[in-house]
């Protein structure tokens, strides 16, 4: 290439059918403002000091190595196709075989891809010359003449258009845009209902029995008294054929509770304080025979606070480690939660089943800005 510099050879500029793509006309060349720069915009082949051709034997070895890689890649590709058909869709239902299939497909694919990558790299590093080409960065900014010419032209044309001169037209156009701009935002209104009381009301009501979560078995106080861990996760006892669990995920997310059996004498002071807005009621009035019910949904950002340490009566949310004291009205003893887990008032009905005696008095779930307002 270097010994055949066609830069100044105008043969290529002949009639159209002979035109060689990529050969610019000499008169079209942009004349740089700094012609003294030796690395000026340069056409034609790269100059000798910019290309360092590899020795012939290196090139020949490179060609061989690259070919070996490409052959390996070919075999990998074939292997991928074979692996696809070796396992049929029924076999991969077994997780173990699915894993073998995954490894066979992935392994052969890796070989195919790596082979092509490695071959191309050898090609670039051993067969091709090593280039160290110089090229100028564009001059920034434009020259003063160019800029002022642009500015003059722009302002003239803007004036001609009348946009600056005719305020009535301009302002009415902007005015016309405003409602159109609002339209897409207004259209979003029906993406969901307004909150209303939806965060505050759950399926719990006076007389509602409770199912052990995941079953249709109603709970009695004895279930907890005999439970060695003293903690059961429960949902409102409703049988709705529409939902396998009786209630929808939305209702589960709000109404799931933790029932905890507290040994006699372990209650702390917040349980006996009078609850605001009731006449003389305390949190203990909301318990039954040492059993207390709290919302299971953490008041931080809504993970289920599912871990209970029996000896310290602490409820721990495994997501962000908010810790609530079950013996002390679920008071936050550690972590980021803003407020205690809401307590559900409970009792027993005539048949001896555990029931709620009302809904939560505070919305369960993540704390939101208007949670305390009715």
């Amino acid at each position: 290439m270097t010994e055949n510099n066609t830069n100044d050879n105008n043969e290529a500029e002949g009639p159209a059918p002979e035109r060689v793509v990529g050969t610019p006309k000499v008169e079209e060349r942009v004349v740089s403002e700094t012609p003294a720069d030796p690395y000026d915009d340069h056409d034609g082949p790269y100059r000798a000091f910019e290309t360092h051709a590899r020795p012939e034997e290196v090139q020949r070895r490179g060609e061989k190595i690259a070919s070996v890689w490409f052959l390996l890649a070919f075999l990998g590709g074939i292997g991928f196709l074979v692996s696809y058909f070796v396992f049929n869709s029924e076999e991969i239902a077994d997780p173990q075989i699915a894993q073998y299939s995954n490894m066979a497909l992935g392994g052969t694919l890796t070989l195919a891809l790596f082979g092509i990558g490695a071959g191309m790299t050898v090609w670039a590093r051993q067969v091709m010359p090593h280039y160290e080409v110089h090229s100028p960065y564009d001059e920034l900014p434009s020259s003063e003449e160019e800029k002022s010419s642009f500015g003059t032209f722009f302002m003239q044309s803007a004036d001609e258009s009348g946009f600056t001169k005719r305020p009535l037209m301009r302002r009415t156009l902007i005015l016309a845009m405003v409602p159109l701009g609002l339209a897409p935002i207004v259209l979003l209104r029906d993406t969901g209902p307004l909150p209303g009381d939806k965060f505050k009301e759950t399926l719990w009501e006076n007389g509602r029995r409770m199912y052990v979560e995941g079953t249709h078995r109603a709970l009695r106080p004895e279930d907890l008294e005999n439970d060695p861990y003293g903690m059961i996760s429960a949902l409102p006892a409703i049988d709705d054929d529409h939902y396998p669990h009786g209630i929808s995920l939305n209702d589960q997310a709000k109404s799931v509770i933790l029932l905890i059996k507290m040994p006699e004498g372990d209650w702390k002071s917040r349980m006996t304080e009078e609850i605001e807005g009731t006449d003389g009621q305390t949190r203990l009035n909301w318990t039954h025979n040492g059993i207390v019910a709290y919302s299971k949904i953490c008041t931080h950002v809504g993970c289920p606070a599912a871990l209970y340490e029996r000896t310290s009566h602490r409820i721990l949310c495994p997501c962000h480690q908010s810790t609530f004291d079950a013996a002390d009205a679920a008071h936050v003893v550690f972590g980021p939660a803003h407020r205690p887990l809401p307590q559900l008032p409970i009792g027993v009905d005539d048949e001896g089943y555990l029931i709620a005696t009302g809904d939560f008095t505070e919305p369960p779930g993540p704390t939101f800005w208007e949670y305390a307002k009715d």
Binding site: Y243, V301, G365
Partner: protein, 549 residues
């Protein structure tokens, strides 16, 4: 090497056909000649680009089978252990991809691994650009586009993680909703509108799906194209070296060498992702089970790039929560859930302009800084990394606590302390290391490098012979720009004795203080001449020669 520079007839035919319609010969040649400087760190952005391409390809495959529906179905597919379990169609169709589509598991793994590597490559690429000052004029706008790509990529990843509707992914959506609810005045409305009602509702997965496969990728693609057009137009930065100047870029031309190298690198990137996907299981959703809002497992981890937000949510206490008229301002959720994100992306976006304001440097920079030559910037970058790193560690504080048998609460207190102390220490140490390296550079420039040869002088003194550095080294060392600021060089009082009104105002004084902090301690190369000043060695060389004679 062929001496025939005429293109074959068929190629000429195609070329002329295109050129007759688009007049592309000149522009085409210019672009084929485009020069890419060589350095390993310039490949980081390439990894991000290639991972993105792999994401697009693998993502299209997944859409062929995935059903973005939250309708509840009883699973009767071929994965035995979950048969009869109620779950969303989204989860059931993901199981279908895993256990009934051959290669489906692999494509899902490739998609997930490519996402992790995409964001990781973005982050490391941004760190390279930050530490070498490649964001400086004229590339500030491309830096901002990069920050936007990073931010959207994180959200895009979170939404993708949420789609299979397995237990951890559903919990991620729950945390998102919990954070949203904490926003004063509008939180409960935003949540209702986004979820189409209460959590989890039946709308969130179809909506996230649309955002994940259409809106956000389109936005990302647009920004990535803009990023590349700007890069193409402005050309790459380069590291200092012989022949590399602010006006001239040196490197490999697009055609043929860079095209082949980059093509090979694409296949390498894809190969690594395929290898990980084949042998490192990352998303065994069949083991987690379907999402229910009432169940949880401990040790839950989000994808790595959300670890810092998860960590912030874990270690930020509720001490600063307060209420106004019965309406709580839940600082304990707002700061870690939204504030930290805002701080991260805001600080990244603001830094180029802040630095320019401090230094008053309005020049065009095409030669990248060596990180040691901008010690305050490097120190701040390291402080940022430490801050991010501590939050990221905090995202697994339960696992740390268990692994090292430290109580969970103690772990949290340690991490809270580290979050404040760590970045300060990181800044100080990084800055000191930079200054130490600057001194060593100065020494090397003056005296050459230590050759490892010990000589005894006739006087009995032992010396180590220094040898002259190579021309390249000398060039690199001399490239160190003086760290100055116009705030410090502008005279406070002009020649008529009038105080500079800018400098007198509070803002001006603040800028001077910042400029002083930014520029102080730097090692000046003023008056340093290469290989000059180690006379003892020179004389030793001379004496040695004499002895030889």
């Amino acid at each position: 090497m062929s001496k025939n520079t005429k293109a074959p007839k068929a190629l000429r035919g195609v070329g002329n056909y295109i050129d007759d319609r688009f007049h592309l010969a000149k522009a085409g040649e210019k672009n084929l000649r485009k020069v890419f400087p060589n350095h390993w760190s310039f490949m980081l952005g390439e990894i991000a680009l290639y991972s993105f391409i792999i994401l697009l390809i693998s993502g299209v495959f997944l859409t062929l089978w995935f059903k973005p529906s939250m309708a509840e179905v009883i699973y009767d597919g071929s994965y035995e252990r979950l048969q009869g379990v109620p779950m969303s169609e989204a989860y059931a169709s993901t199981l279908f991809i895993d256990f009934e589509v051959r290669g489906g598991f692999l494509v899902r793994q490739i998609h997930h691994w490519a996402a992790l590597i995409f964001v990781a490559a973005l982050v490391v690429h941004m760190l390279r650009v930050f530490f070498t000052g490649a964001f400086r004029k004229p590339r500030e706008i491309n830096w901002l586009i990069g920050v936007a790509i990073f931010a959207i990529a994180v959200v895009e990843g979170l939404f993708g993680y949420s789609l299979p509707d397995d237990l951890p992914s559903g919990m991620g959506v729950r945390v998102l909703q919990g954070v949203m609810l904490a926003i004063p005045l509008v939180g409960s409305y935003i949540s209702m509108f986004l979820f189409g009602g209460e959590f989890p509702g039946e709308d969130i997965i179809p909506r996230l799906y649309m955002l994940h496969i259409l809106a956000l990728p389109a936005l990302l693609l647009g920004l990535i194209v803009a990023h590349f057009m700007i890069l193409w137009h402005q050309k790459h930065t380069q590291y200092p070296g012989t022949g590399r100047t602010e006006k001239t870029v040196v490197g490999t031309p697009m055609f043929p060498a860079f095209a082949v190298k980059a093509g090979g690198f694409f296949f390498f990137t894809f190969a690594v992702i395929a290898l990980l996907s084949a042998f490192v299981q990352i998303n065994p959703i069949h083991l987690f089970g379907p999402f229910t809002p009432t169940s949880i497992t401990s040790g839950l981890q989000p994808d790595w790039y959300l670890g810092f937000m998860e960590g912030a949510l874990r270690i930020f206490p509720n001490w600063f929560d307060f209420s106004i008229g019965g309406y709580p301002i839940i600082i304990g959720v707002l700061i870690p859930g939204l504030g930290i994100m805002g701080l991260l992306f805001g600080a990244l976006a603001a830094w180029p302009f802040l630095e320019q304001w401090i230094t008053g440097d309005k020049r065009v920079h095409n030669v990248a800084d060596r990180p040691r030559n901008a010690p305050v910037r490097t120190g701040l970058g390291v402080a940022g990394i430490v801050f991010y790193g501590v939050l990221w560690m905090a995202g697994s504080n339960d696992i740390l606590s268990e692994t090292f048998s430290i109580s969970l609460y103690t772990t949290t207190y340690i991490l809270r302390t580290l979050l404040i102390v760590g970045p300060i220490l990181g800044f100080i140490i990084a800055k000191r290391i930079c200054l130490g390296l600057q001194r060593r550079d100065k020494e090397t420039l003056e005296h050459g490098y230590e050759s490892g040869i010990i000589q005894q002088l006739p006087s009995g003194e032992f010396i180590e012979v220094h040898k002259a550095s190579s021309e390249e080294t000398e060039h690199v060392l001399k490239s160190k720009p003086p760290v100055t600021s116009t705030a410090l060089t502008e005279p406070e009082v002009d020649d008529k004795g009038v105080e500079n009104p800018e400098a007198r105002k509070g803002r001006g004084r603040f800028r001077r203080a910042l400029a002083h902090w930014y520029t102080k301690d730097n090692v000046s190369l003023d008056g340093v001449r290469a290989h000059n000043g180690h006379h003892a060695h020179d004389s030793a060389e001379a004496e040695k020669e004499e002895v030889a004679h």
